[in-house]
């Protein structure tokens, strides 16, 4: 403790006299906190070691987020209150029609599912997972300009787990990568670090689609220049990674360049987050695979919950 008696220096302008206790200088504090931040960033980005800290901080952020959402929700609700009756009737008729068509399809599908399960039983093949879904609403989209992520309003309290696939009515959107109690983050297929195993519907050829980042496209690397693939080919999930169930539409091939030894194939995702506010999350259990040995060539997108993301980072 400094105990010097007050002197003339007390009258110095704004700055407190030096014999008062200041603590460390701004520079020292800056260096200290900057170093902690750097350590945090390294731990988080390279080692994924800070999940629990993130959960704790999210407890503080969640009420603020909910409060910030209220005005928009109120606006939304008032907006939907003043919908015209004609529009509602039209919509109702349309939905009724669609429901009829889908009910017919559903009946056929149930029969086929039963048949499929029976055949698989006979062949001794592993049963396909039964899937249940949870509908979630998009809260934030595109907050971080560096990655393609959305935040939805269902979290671990609704049985959402990291690694579960997210869909809309057309196809795959992405994968849940971070779960909080009441919300979760979905990384879109178009994210630079996201990969998904796909299959061409026309000929059954398998490939992996990687996100392209900003422009919202996917690409298929590692396809030979003479590979049998055409513009307009539909890609669906192949299901061999255990993350995405097989047969969900992913993308349509839009551009093929066959100049080099590998073709440069660009596809546009079938599903999109710009059209709806609702998405579906498949909340079946996440199957965890053993990581392949480093010497082996990386198997196509196989991995645990966050596998498809982590893999590409390591390459």
């Amino acid at each position: 403790m400094h105990k010097s008696a007050p002197t003339l220096r007390t009258k110095m302008d704004h700055q407190a006299p030096p014999f008062f206790k200041h603590g460390p200088s701004p520079l020292a504090r800056f260096v200290f906190f900057a170093l902690i931040s750097l350590v945090l960033m390294v731990l988080d980005a390279r080692l994924n070691a800070l999940d629990s800290l993130r959960q704790i901080i999210s407890v503080a952020v969640a009420p603020l987020q909910r409060l910030a959402m209220t005005p928009a929700e109120l606006l939304d609700r008032t907006g939907s209150f003043f919908v015209t009756q004609a529009r509602l009737q039209n919509e109702n008729a349309l939905l009724g029609q669609r429901q009829l068509v889908q009910a017919a399809q559903l009946q056929r599908m149930q029969a086929m599912q039963a048949e499929n399960a029976h055949l698989r039983n006979i062949l001794g093949v592993q049963q396909q997972r039964g899937e249940s879904v949870v509908a979630a609403e998009i809260v934030y989209a595109g907050r971080d300009p560096f990655s393609q992520k959305i935040t939805v309003n269902k979290g671990s309290n609704h049985k959402v787990l990291a690694g579960q696939p997210a869909l809309d009515d057309v196809g795959v959107i992405g994968q849940v990568t971070q779960v909080y109690p009441f919300s979760s983050e979905v990384t879109l297929l178009t994210d630079k670090d996201q990969a998904i195993p796909v299959q061409i519907v026309r000929n059954g050829a398998r490939a992996i689609a990687f996100g392209h980042g900003q422009d919202g496209a996917l690409e298929l690397p590692f396809m030979a220049a003479n590979a049998d693939i055409q513009n307009g080919d539909t890609l669906v999930t192949s299901g061999i990674d255990g993350v995405y169930p097989a047969g969900l539409p992913v993308a349509v091939v839009t551009k093929i360049e066959r100049n080099a030894s590998f073709a440069k194939i660009t596809c546009m995702p079938s599903a999109g987050v710009n059209r709806h506010k609702q998405i579906l999350i498949l909340i079946g259990e996440v199957r965890r695979f053993q990581k392949p040995e480093p010497s082996e060539p990386a198997a196509a997108g196989a991995g645990d919950g966050k596998g498809s993301i982590l893999k590409k980072k390591r390459d």
């Binding site: 407190a16 701004p26 520079l27 504090r29 800056f30 200290f32 906190f33 900057a34 902690i36 931040s37 750097l38 350590v39 945090l40 960033m41 731990l43 988080d44 980005a45 800070l50 800290l53 993130r54 901080i57 999210s58 503080a60 952020v61 603020l64 987020q65 409060l67 910030a68 959402m69 005005p71 928009a72 809260v139 934030y140 989209a141 595109g142 907050r143 971080d144 300009p145 560096f146 990655s147 992520k149 935040t151 971070q178 983050e185 630079k192 670090d193 980042g213 900003q214 980072k313």
Partner: protein, 179 residues
């Protein structure tokens, strides 16, 4: 007209008020911005932090700055420490320069703030580029411009509670003599 550069005497800001402005900054940042509005959205938390770093450098702690940064990191779902580091850097530079910046008129201060905000964004950009992200385009820096344009309004608003009631004491007249 008073502006913070004038030798107007102001009451010191209360810590409660500083906390209140920080929380409202967080709330504004967490509003569901998307699309074009999102790229124009100024970083309100950064603005509030810079304001208090320049105005009351002894009252805004690095701990508060750092915690606000972590909250933004989780709110935006980015790597932990990205905003925290950028805010710490900005607040440090603002504290070092606060006497100089206070001398200027509001619009000249806004220019300083523009540079500080650009510094913040650049720090975050560099962090993400090191993390392997792609450059998101020059639109990334748009929010700095809107932030700097908000500065004069924000300063006048935040200094309101620190002005004495007109006529109640001599604070006002002392200020106008200075002009």
């Amino acid at each position: 007209m008073h502006y913070p550069g004038s030798p107007e005497l102001l009451k010191p800001a209360s810590r409660k008020f500083i906390l209140l402005t920080l929380v409202s900054g967080l709330l504004l940042n967490l509003l569901p911005w998307h699309g074009l509005a999102l790229s124009f959205r100024p970083d309100f938390v950064a603005l509030v932090l810079l304001f208090w770093a320049i105005r009351e450098p002894r009252k805004l702690g690095f701990v508060a700055t750092w915690i606000a940064g972590l909250l933004m990191d989780v709110g935006d779902g980015v790597i932990l420490g990205q905003h925290a580091f950028a805010y710490i850097l900005g607040v440090y530079v603002a504290i070092v320069l606060h006497r100089r910046i206070q001398r200027f008129t509001l619009w000249q201060q806004a220019l300083h703030v523009l540079l500080l905000l650009l510094l913040l964004q650049a720090a975050m950009l560099i962090i993400r580029l090191f993390g392997g992200a792609a450059f998101p385009g020059m639109g990334y820096f748009l929010s700095c411009l809107t932030g700097a344009m908000l500065w004069p309004a924000l300063s006048l608003l935040f200094l309101l509670p620190q002005r004495g009631r007109p006529g109640s004491d001599s604070v006002y007249s002392a200020g106008s003599k200075g002009l």
